[in-house]
């Protein structure tokens, strides 16, 4: 099994590199904008209101929907589809690939999602309430909008891609899972170009806010930009965000052939399962996930320069992840720890993909962006190398490990190497 080999000794045909990035996050609609926001402490969290639930906070994206999608298709489709279409088109442009002349049957679309269909179902139920629950007013668009492959399918439809497309449902590990799926399909020869990552439309479903609130896990703060505060003693939950980040992944041999710009190489990954609880994470299993990714990459903890933590801002979640990170990286003096949710909130299925992207420029600028809003560090989260509140310049960045975990005990870790 390829994934168990030392991935740094693979031939170019089995090495997978990132050659394009398209993204929208609450603090920017391109990698350059998001990176600038992460280095300058710019939050994307703001007051937000949604039906039934009322006033709350959320990370809201303001990308130009109709840059790559007609108004009609935007109306017909879903918010997740629009986010995917924006990100995919921007990623293709960024990659410099001649997509018009690319064989579309060899392109695969692999989009991670935390959930899909809740937004549309809630909308339809709300609509028919106005007609005394007469289901003849239920939209004929409901099924194509809510099928689980919708966000990936809308990308394929928009770009004329006739290769495989599907979503990967992996709770909040979905961004990493989408990238891992893309990498695997490239290695198997199932596609020659993978558009992979994750998207989230979750702020448009009241259910996710109400669910987190009932669970005691929805953040609140008088200052919206201070609400998402992983590792701080006063953290009180998650700020829900929308967003997306899709990568162009290629085999190194293909990227070299077209002299592509390379952001980095995916040299290790792992997905495992807690099998202990619906919601509560398991530090031991998270540590095992990171260790497995390191082992597959042929690396030891001391070789990882940046760990991008999942860090949702819940009391238990952060403490347990810090326990896991300490187990793996506690003895490493050259590993620095950060996260992006403190800036933008939790973009669910997009989170892993967005957060990795926000760290990739560190390969060239050697700056580790911070985790912000840590006014009073929780001793349980006082892990060595934590970059608090201000970015930190370091000597060299060769490897980044990106954590993303989700409900039902799904853990993922992805390792990217400077190219």
């Amino acid at each position: 099994m390829i994934s168990r080999l030392n991935q740094q000794e693979l031939p170019d045909e089995l090495r997978v590199v990132i050659t394009g990035i398209g993204m929208t996050a609450p603090n920017g609609n391109s990698l350059a904008e998001v990176r600038e926001g992460l280095l300058n402490g710019r939050s994307g969290v703001r007051p937000y209101e949604i039906r039934y639930f009322g006033k709350t906070l959320a990370g809201v994206c303001e990308f130009e929907v109709n840059r790559h999608q007609s108004k009609k298709d935007a109306r017909r489709g879903t918010r997740a589809g629009s986010i995917g279409i924006y990100c995919a088109n921007e990623a293709i442009l960024d990659s410099g690939i001649d997509f018009a002349n690319f064989d579309k049957s060899t392109v695969g679309v692999y989009v991670g999602v935390t959930e899909h269909g809740n937004v549309e179902t809630e909308n339809e139920v709300y609509q028919i309430k106005g007609y005394d629950y007469d289901t003849s007013f239920w939209s004929h668009h409901h099924n194509p909008r809510t099928v689980a492959n919708n966000p990936a399918g809308e990308v394929a439809l928009n770009l004329g891609i006739t290769g495989p497309h599907y979503t990967i449902g992996a709770a909040c590990a979905a961004g990493n899972a989408g990238m891992i799926q893309g990498l695997q399909m490239l290695r198997l020869g199932e596609c020659d170009l993978a558009i992979a990552g994750g998207v989230s439309e979750s702020i448009h479903t009241f259910g996710i806010f109400a669910g987190f609130a009932s669970q005691g896990a929805l953040a609140s703060h008088t200052d919206p930009t201070k609400a998402s505060r992983p590792f701080d003693k006063a953290r009180n939950g998650i700020v829900v965000a929308e967003g997306g980040c899709l990568y162009i992944l290629e085999r190194l041999s293909d990227a070299k052939r077209r002299q592509a710009k390379v952001y980095g190489e995916i040299v290790g990954y792992a997905i495992n399962t807690d099998a202990t609880d619906f919601v509560l994470p398991n530090a031991e299993r998270q540590a095992q996930c990171m260790q497995l990714a390191l082992k597959r990459a042929g690396l030891v903890a001391e070789q990882i320069d940046i760990v991008s933590t999942h860090a949702t801002g819940t009391t238990n979640g952060d403490s347990l992840e810090c326990d896991a990170v300490r187990r793996v990286f506690g003895q490493s003096e050259k590993t620095f720890i950060n996260n992006a949710k403190s800036f933008i909130g939790h973009s669910m299925g997009a989170a892993g993909a967005i957060e990795l992207a926000g760290n990739l420029p560190a390969f060239s600028d050697r700056v580790v962006h911070a985790t912000i809003n840590v006014d009073d560090l929780d001793p349980e989260c006082d892990i060595p190398g934590l970059v608090r509140n201000q970015p930190r310049e370091i000597n060299r960045v060769d490897y980044i490990l990106n954590n993303s975990f989700g409900m039902l005990g799904i853990n993922s870790a992805l390792i990217v190497k400077r190219f």
Partner: protein, 85 residues
Amino acid sequence: MTPEEIRQAIIEILEDIAPDEDLSNLNDAVSFREQMELDSMDFLDIVMELRKRYRVQVPEEDYVQLASMDSTVTYLVPKMGQVPA
């Protein structure tokens, strides 16, 4: 509603379901499909919007009546004539 008001109601529905189209030069005698990008799901949108906005029911066997603006207005006059504008 008068035939002119029914026509305007259809225009408003089309503006919503086909927002990229310029309807200012619509030829009422020619089928919608020859002038606009409309597929079967879009025609179902016209039917749904008539139901939602005016409580007008268009049974499936009558969908062919919605081919052009002229045929649509002619078909809807008996159904919408009593609807207040």
